[in-house]
């Protein structure tokens, strides 16, 4: 057993756990996108950043890949973390503005404007589909193609892979194609609909969306 401090509370974690897992055992909410229970940690979306305090200094790390270690001091909702997450959301939204999940998360975090140039690629390269296909379906027909700005998810020679078992898991797990935001126009890169949502203490229609809800509590989206 390891003992670390998360948001001021002493948390006991098992050897080999990540900070994200340790936090979740205590009900501490850290938003994630590219993390999925049952798939290997990937650490690309950076939404799960937390602050690691080392004396007077601190650094930002992705909690989903950070191993919990003895004596670690973590802050999951400090102003620095919140600022960093907002920027991450802006970056993600600038590549996939139509994702309802991303819009909801951004609204929850209080993002009011996307300052980056919009290029709708309909994919945040989170790799969930690739890992789902490989690790859960033992299929491995999907992968990343190309590099740099032309990197994308695809199949070899853009052909339907022989290995595909038609499970639909790749679509199901995708945070972007899961449900499209139905707003017609985006203002400053945001749909705005969610910003008008009503904050509630406990959510009567909980769909276990906690991944997309920040520590500040729930809002309902209509």
């Amino acid at each position: 057993m390891i003992e670390l401090t998360i948001d001021g509370a002493k948390v006991r974690a098992e050897e080999g756990m990540t900070v994200l897992e340790a936090a979740r055992t205590q009900g501490i909410v850290i938003p994630t996108l590219c993390h999925f229970d049952g798939l290997s940690p990937y650490g690309v979306c950076r939404v799960c950043v937390v602050e690691v305090v080392k004396g007077k200094r601190s650094s930002l790390e992705a909690s989903c890949t950070l191993p919990a270690s003895e004596g670690l001091v973590i802050r999951t909702g400090s102003p620095r973390v919140q600022r960093a997450r907002k920027v991450v959301m802006e970056l993600l939204l600038s590549t996939s503005p139509k994702s309802k999940l991303l819009q909801d998360m951004a609204a929850n975090m209080g993002v009011t404007k996307v300052r980056f140039q919009q290029k709708d690629r309909d994919c945040i390269l989170c790799g969930l589909c690739v890992r789902y296909c490989e690790q859960q379906m033992q299929s491995g027909g999907l992968g990343f193609v190309g590099r740099g700005v032309s990197r994308r998810v695809g199949t070899a020679f853009d052909e339907m892979p022989e290995e595909c078992r038609n499970c639909g898991g790749c679509e199901w797990v995708c945070p972007v194609c899961e449900q499209a935001c139905r707003a017609d126009d985006l203002i400053d890169g945001l749909c705005g609909g969610c910003l008008n949502a009503v904050p509630v203490e406990s959510c009567p229609i909980c769909t276990e969306c906690s991944q997309s809800v920040g520590a500040e509590g729930h809002r309902t989206f209509r």
Partner: protein, 159 residues
Amino acid sequence: MATTGHAAHRIIEKHAGARDALIPILQDIQAEEGYLSQEALEAVSEGMSIPLIQVYGVATFFRAFSLEPRGRRVVCACTGTACHVRGASAVLDELERQLGVCAGQTTGDGEYSLETVNCLGACALGPVVVVDGINHGHMTRADVQHLLGGEPESAGADR
């Protein structure tokens, strides 16, 4: 293309099929056949028991690999930062104009392939153009003509 399969299999055997030899294997196939055909990648995937998409991912990741047949001569213009600020785009424009193809294409007669790269590590010589593996530094628009014209069988050059 049965021969392609053979070449791939022979090359895999040479590398003892080790998983970390994927890149050297692809390099060898490319050196032998000039490009990586779909058959070759499929043979590699099968021979090494690696999913095809992973082989394809590696082949599309590195600029050094080509999935299409290339011309007999490969002209490669650096468009990296250092070369760019020294006028690489003008040189590339001139290459495109004289060869009559866009970057990434091969001339109709299969003579020249024009490619770009994002830095050759020879920034001090920028703008750099590599023709058949030989670096030419400090290129200007005017040099392009010499570069293409000064070589035998420059039939692809449209002057």
